[in-house]
Amino acid sequence: MFELDVRSRKPIYEQLTDKVKEMIMHGILRADEQLPSVRALSSQLTVNPNTIQKAYRELEREGYIYSLQGKGNFVAAMQQEHNESKRAGLKTELLRLMAEAVYLGFTESEISALYRQALDQRREGNSHD
């Protein structure tokens, strides 16, 4: 279910946490859905189980997933708070990109078309699984 780029400079555990977050945000992973076990994922991806454990711990600390003793890891219901800090960061990032887009001559309608496209993608992601 995950594809990792072992040649990338980005640490594996960061790739893993980013991937899971992305899948949660796009609605591919739903609340209370079980994540693959450390063991299964380790042999599937040929990744050190300690690295996967670490990624899961980090995701749990950030509130994206929760673990049940002896049962495994599950997707947490989206919470407004961790969205807030995320939003603030995203805003600055968007502003930076937007400045670049303005510089390159993007029009307002082109940018709003992109917004609609992202919206459609998310809807599709939700209707699929």
């Binding site: 072992v6 400079r9 980005k10 640490p11 594996i12 555990y13 960061e14 450390v38 063991r39 380790s42 042999s43 040929t46 990744v47 050190n48 189980p49 300690n50 690295t51 670490k54």
Partner: protein
């Protein structure tokens, strides 16, 4: 699980290992890196109880290793070139290991034999180098050790076998918390395999850390400033390990948190700013450079 405290080993006045300390937790995969002649093999042999340390202590699960058969039963040392008895086959070696290691698992042996597709009746001396390595690993894992020490284990294995063996080790780590200590020069392999690394040079440990922490602690920054003066201002506030100038683009190796570095650079709003994590190879080279061991641009 493994505790090495202040260990020295001296050969004819030369300190091969010098006051070295190292800790490996249970279930970790630890990669030992180092320059040629840094003392890696000496350290591993001391850990395996083959050498007696001249100073310091080597303990496994709280027990000293040297001349302690009970402790040695819980670990396996795989030397850089596999050793088998003359005329031995996998089957005869298996019988030998079985007589020494009480936790020997016949079931595991049969499973692994099927996986590696090696003929247990063929003489080991007739196997290729890579097949001998596979045989050595097969025998080692069948002993169900708590600690597996491997000196340069990846040499001579094809990519499929490497992946297979990696998976096998990961499985043992996930299922029964096998502790693995590996020495190697192949940094790419170590990067994929290990969660902790230590870098040795001239008998000492230069760095010892969680691999991901090590990688997220050092960054490569490519930057083109709007004004040359910005460079000097930044260089004074950041911990810079290495700098290079390529025209108007500067390359820095900076120690510190990604966020902090990124912010420091963004203040000056440079034309170009690229922040990349380092590869293990780059970390190795810069750390070694810091210790006065760097590649000289030599033309002979």
């Amino acid at each position: 699980m493994i505790e090495i405290r202040g260990v020295s080993k001296i050969f004819q006045g030369d300190k091969a290992v010098d006051q070295l300390s190292l800790t490996v937790h249970k279930g970790a995969i630890y990669g030992l890196l180092g320059s040629n002649g840094a003392g890696k093999t000496t350290l591993l042999k001391t850990l395996a109880g083959i050498y007696r340390p001249d100073a310091g202590t080597v303990k496994l699960g709280g027990q000293p290793v040297y001349e302690s058969p009970e402790v040695k039963r819980r670990m396996i040392f795989m030397p850089d070139s596999p050793y088998f008895f003359p005329q031995a086959t996998i089957r005869s070696m298996a019988a030998f290991y079985k007589s020494i290691y009480p936790d020997w698992s016949q079931k595991r042996y049969d499973e692994l034999l099927a996986m590696f597709r090696l003929d247990p009746r063929r003489k080991l001396s007739r196997f290729s180098k890579g097949m001998q390595r596979q045989a050595a690993l097969l025998l080692a894992l069948s002993c169900r050790p708590e600690v597996l020490i491997m000196d340069e284990p990846i040499d001579g294995l094809d990519p499929v076998m490497r992946r297979q063996i990696k998976n096998l080790l990961f499985q043992e780590v996930a299922e029964r918390e096998l502790t693995v200590l590996i020495s190697s020069h192949n940094l790419r392999e170590i990067e994929d395999l290990c969660d902790h690394v230590g870098i040795m040079h001239e008998g000492r440990m230069l760095v010892e850390k969680d691999l991901d922490d090590l990688k997220s602690d050092t960054h490569k920054v490519q930057v083109a400033f709007r004004d040359e003066r910005h460079a000097a201002a930044l260089e004074s506030i950041l911990q810079i390990l290495h700098r290079e100038e390529r025209g108007s683009v500067r390359l820095y190796i900076v120690k510190g948190e990604r966020e902090r570095i990124s912010q420091a650079f963004h203040v000056y709003d440079p034309y170009v700013l690229d922040l990349l994590p380092l590869t293990l190879e780059e970390i190795f080279i810069y750390e070694m450079g810091g210790a006065g061991y760097d590649a000289q641009p030599i033309i002979l």
